[in-house]
């Protein structure tokens, strides 16, 4: 527990650093943001009033402190384009992204674990080679390619599933597969290599020697220990999954967090972009912490080491 507390405290400077980096990066744009916001038709009085209202006349350090203070109580500013609180917009988009990511994770784990285990059992066999070849193909496919292919084949040609998001479970299947496809490849590869490594341990021989069947040994003994690295990798993949969600949400027209970020860029809607980036980063950091926590629960050696 002490170890975990230390890790939590350790993320605070990183979190502040993220806020500072994003804050500075979005504010070094030349020109008064208010002028950009107003476009061509404005008069000086309007500019002054808005600048004052939005606090852009204050020193940048004070603006930063105010932003952090706001963010701590869940206030991420107001959208330029829609004049709505950014937090509200994120909360509206969040369920879509969570649902997408969860389904993608389930798909990636299911497919990755099964193929990884089969490949490890059939090590260097034809099936192993084939699975590993396909998994590398999965890792190397750009996510928009997977999305477009799935959309073309299963939605357009075969007509099995809806083309775009419609609020139903069925309409989320294709995007989830597209998003999970890359991760499934890496889960499979990781499961295979870690299972093969564990299978060489002495206690596996012992279990086999006392007459347990091979399947029982793999599920009861080997898998438990080989899952450790896979769990960590999955949490670290959260970050690339959120990157990927930007693409899948764009292809399948899902109004999630990624879509929010893309439209914010096109609308030059700085507060929304800032809020979404901050939010996704917090999710990534939380995911890493969770992985650490899981790891220390699953493997007591880590806690003792610290």
């Amino acid at each position: 527990m002490k170890y975990f507390l230390k890790r939590v405290i350790g993320t605070i400077p990183v979190l502040l650093g993220v806020v500072l980096l994003i804050f500075v990066m979005l504010r070094i744009i030349p020109g008064n943001p208010v002028v950009i916001l107003l476009g061509e038709h404005y008069d000086q009085a309007t500019i002054d009033r808005l600048t004052d209202l939005m606090g852009y006349d204050q020193p940048i350090l004070l603006q930063f402190v105010n932003y952090v203070k706001g963010a701590l109580v869940g206030d991420l500013g107001v959208s330029y384009k829609y004049s709505r609180p950014v937090t509200e917009m994120i909360m509206e988009a969040l369920p879509y992204t969570i649902r997408l990511a969860l389904m993608a994770v389930v798909f990636a784990w299911g497919l990755g674990l099964i193929t990884g285990i089969i490949a490890a059992v059939k090590k260097n066999n034809f099936i192993d080679r084939m699975f590993m070849g396909v998994s590398l193909l999965g890792v190397s496919m750009p996510i928009f390619m997977t999305s477009l292919l799935l959309q073309y084949i299963f939605a357009f040609k075969l007509g099995w599933l809806p083309m775009t998001e419609e609020g139903t479970f069925a309409s989320m299947i294709l995007p989830a597969i597209a998003l999970g496809w890359n991760s499934a490849g890496s889960v499979a590869r990781m499961t295979r290599s870690s299972l093969i490594e564990v299978m060489q341990a002495d206690y596996i021989d012992t279990a086999r020697a006392k007459g347990l069947r091979k399947g029982a040994v793999i599920i009861g003994h080997a898998l438990k220990n080989s899952l450790l690295p896979v769990v960590t990798m999955m949490a670290l993949q959260l970050s690339s999954m959120l990157s990927g969600a930007v693409i899948t949400e764009s292809v399948f027209a899902i109004p999630g967090i990624g879509r929010l970020a893309t439209t914010a860029i096109n609308n030059r809607d700085m507060p929304v972009l800032q809020g979404t980036v901050l939010f996704t980063t917090v999710i990534v950091i939380a995911g890493n912490l969770l992985a650490d926590f899981l790891y220390s629960v699953l493997d007591p050696r880590i806690r003792k080491g610290d």
Binding site: P13, V14, G17, V18, L21, I22, M25, L26, I28, I29, L136, L137, V139, S140, M141, P142, I143, F144, M145, L148, L149, Q151, Y152, F156, R189, S193, S239, S240, L242, S243, G244, V246, I247, S250, A261, T262, I265, N266, R268, M270, L273, T276, V277, T280, T281, V284, I285, N288
Partner: protein, 301 residues
């Protein structure tokens, strides 16, 4: 007599392979080509693609922006190998020209981020203390922001253009390089020859770049090879979203973006460049994996 020499040589080879360290990078690469044909084939594929990019004007049957409005949206044929787009431009030629940008964007930002990562990692590992703390926390910050989203923010700030895309992608990859270089520096720093160099008064920077850095080179080659495909994927993703390369320039990602509206009528327009991206990424991944096995036994898969 000959038998005796043979035995000696065999013994020698055996010893060398046991020591491992004795092999130069060149020997290890030769062994990789022998034992891992897939990696060797990938290297050849990459070389061919780079040559095709360089000689695009010579190979391409049509000009990059040559329009033929009568033959718009043609299916693949003998005249147009991959068909034509909505302006009657030959897709194969466009992809050849597009490969120049896509490959350059894969390699150049990776080199830049490698350089930044090396300097940051060496400094963090060698100096330790607050230098280490600051550099590694900055690396942590960069690593916690999903890379595509970070690149999107940079593109927002700088505006969408090809040069800015280079900057955005150079900024994102250095932190993982810095981590690896730092940890290797930490262990090499303790070795006796570094201490010897220090004792005869060799300067700090010289120790870092002349004595520590060469030991990191195998890992750096691997990191670079695996960084290129992720840069290519980032570029194509950004261009696909319309916040990367701007027309009239063309990259594979942008061609996908433009062909997307014809997915259901002329699917080859966006799937052909997708396949091209996949082949390049796959080749770099195979090569990177092979290099890792050959050069860097300490790095985990």
């Amino acid at each position: 007599m000959f038998e005796h020499e043979d035995k000696n040589m065999a013994l020698n080879e055996d010893l060398q392979s046991q020591i491992g360290e004795r092999d130069g990078i060149r020997d290890k690469l030769k062994r990789m080509c022998r034992e891992n044909p897939l990696a060797a084939v990938s290297a050849v594929v990459i070389a061919i693609i780079i040559l095709m990019a360089i000689f695009a004007p010579v190979i391409a049957p049509y000009g990059e922006a040559e329009q033929d409005l009568i033959n718009r949206l043609q299916a693949p044929s003998a005249e147009h190998w991959l068909g034509t787009d909505e302006l009657g431009r030959d897709l194969f030629s466009r992809m050849l020209y597009g490969s120049r940008l896509s490959i350059t964007i894969g390699i150049l930002p990776s080199l830049i981020s490698l350089t930044i990562g090396v300097v940051a990692g060496l400094a963090a590992g060698y100096f330790g203390g607050w230098v280490d703390y600051v550099i590694m926390r900055v690396a942590d910050v960069m690593l916690s922001i999903p890379s595509l989203i970070l690149a999107m923010v940079v593109m927002y700030t700088l505006g969408t253009s090809t040069v800015n895309l280079f900057i955005a992608l150079s900024m994102t990859g250095w932190s993982s390089v810095a981590r690896v270089v730092r940890s290797q520096t930490l262990s090499i720093k303790q070795s006796e020859y570094v201490e010897a160099a220090r004792s005869i008064g060799v300067g700090r920077w010289k120790i870092m770049f002349r004595h520590i850095l060469p030991n990191c080179i195998p890992s750096l080659i691997v990191l670079f090879t695996l960084n290129v495909p992720s840069a290519i994927l980032s570029e194509s993703s950004l261009s696909f979203l319309g916040i990367g390369v701007k027309v009239p320039a063309a990259s594979w990602g942008l061609i996908v973006n433009q062909g997307r509206q014809f997915l259901f009528t002329q699917p080859w327009l966006c799937l052909a460049p997708c396949v091209a991206i996949m082949i390049v990424v796959l080749a770099f991944n195979f090569l990177g994996d092979g290099l890792r096995d050959a050069l860097d036994p300490y790095m985990q898969r």
